[in-house]
């Protein structure tokens, strides 16, 4: 297979995760990280899905247009956003209370590495150039479900799903789902299951690009992709 263009890959990942949330019949509360996770919002069509931002807001609307930008109304990635009817503001402590208390149904985050034990590394590459953990550890430990959204391999073609994380981890065994442009994985009782595979990739090809051991789910199928 030929690798997908990066923008196509990212959109596919965001779209696929959004479909999971769009299925809900009751209110669903989601926290979206920076990068691909933010793009998930573009594909939410169910009005029972509500977005939470850890800097203190529930009910985020889309990014603000240039003339509506308000520097005091931003998401956790510092992007000016908008309000929705019924939104609310609260302090950081209450916000992380929601997260740590298990009230936020899911968080979608990016990752450098995910391993076969459900560990995720997404907060630091130890090269001395960055110092920051932010809300990643709280989100991974607190949200009911953790979705990892990432391209399957690095730009250099190195698999991101590996046997054991080499980078400092963000959370221990906290990952529930991994969605890449090539596949949809689920962790069940510590085992990694392949739920879906993208139309243009074979199982053999996927295995060469996935160093974390996995088995096929009973419901294994071809991954739906945006039309």
């Amino acid at each position: 297979m030929k690798p997908l263009a990066e923008e196509v890959a990212k959109k596919r990942i965001a779209w696929r995760i959004a479909q999971e949330f769009n299925k809900t019949e009751s209110p669903l509360f989601i926290n979206l990280g920076v990068g691909i996770p933010t793009m998930v919002a573009d594909y939410i069509t169910n009005n029972q899905v509500f977005l939470q931002a850890e800097n203190g807001m529930l009910g985020l609307g889309p990014a603000a247009s240039e003339e509506k930008k308000d520097r005091m109304l931003i998401n956790a990635g510092r992007i000016p956003i908008t309000e929705t009817p019924g939104c609310s503001f609260f302090d950081s402590c209450t916000s992380f209370g929601m997260i740590r208390g298990g009230h936020v149904d899911a968080t979608v985050i990016g990752a450098f590495e995910v391993d076969g034990e459900g560990n995720v590394a997404n907060w630091i590459i130890p090269n001395g150039k960055q110092l920051g953990v932010g809300g990643a550890m709280d989100l991974v430990a607190g949200a009911r479900q953790v979705y990892i959204s990432m391209t399957h391999c690095t730009k250099q073609g190195k698999p991101k799903m590996i046997e054991t994380c080499t980078l400092p981890i963000t959370g221990h065994g906290e990952v529930d789902f991994v969605v890449t442009e090539l596949a949809f994985f689920r962790f069940e009782k510590g085992r990694l299951l392949l739920e879906e595979i993208a139309p243009e990739v074979t199982l053999e090809e996927l295995k060469t690009m996935t160093l974390a051991p996995f088995s096929r789910s009973q419901n294994f199928r071809v991954m739906p992709v945006p039309g």
Binding site: R71, M72, F89, C93, L131, G132, G134, D138, P168, T170
Partner: protein
Amino acid sequence: MDAAKNCRKLKAIDEAIGMIKKGSRVLIGGFGNAGDPKKLIEGLCISGTDELVVMSNDLGSPNEGLGKLLSNNQVRGLIGTYYNWNPEVAMAYNEGKIFVELVPQGTFAEAVRAAGVGIPAFYTLSGVGTEIAKGKEEKTFGEKTYLLQEALKADVALIKAHKADVLGNLVYYKTARNFNPVMAMAADLVIAEVDELVPGGELDPESIVTPHIFVDVLVLGGGDR
């Protein structure tokens, strides 16, 4: 302005900043340049007061906002969550110029609140099994292991609110609220920069976020939003 005349807590910026001693632990509100007390930070930079331990979510950008305190060599150490927006922090840390204590953001917010409400320590799941857990006490409740986090108390808090009444009751503006209300509880001296001062009784008693019991000094900011 009538409200200003009737406000015993109102001070000029330099007078308020003059209350901060060298070497203080200073909580500073804000997240990603929203809700940081810009005039107070400017004043603190001008004052040159140094050896400060700055406790905040981030440190602004290089030589901008809180970042300027670092460029000015006024910082002895940082306790906070996210310095990726200001690469000068990692540089200063690598050079051994400052100490940095990284705390997960939710743990940081809760530890500041804890200091404010007389809780010396609490347990949390955030960071268990990670580098952040190194050196921290652990304890098991039910089936899970948690980390002990001690309260983060400060000498001074510099916060930003939208409106204050003459007593010092505060309300905030959208996501500029962030860490400010918890920091208002957790320091011996709390200085709030506000966009607007209103007469007593003008804020709805049901909607006051920070009651005036927590606020010592008010200064007027630029209404910079």
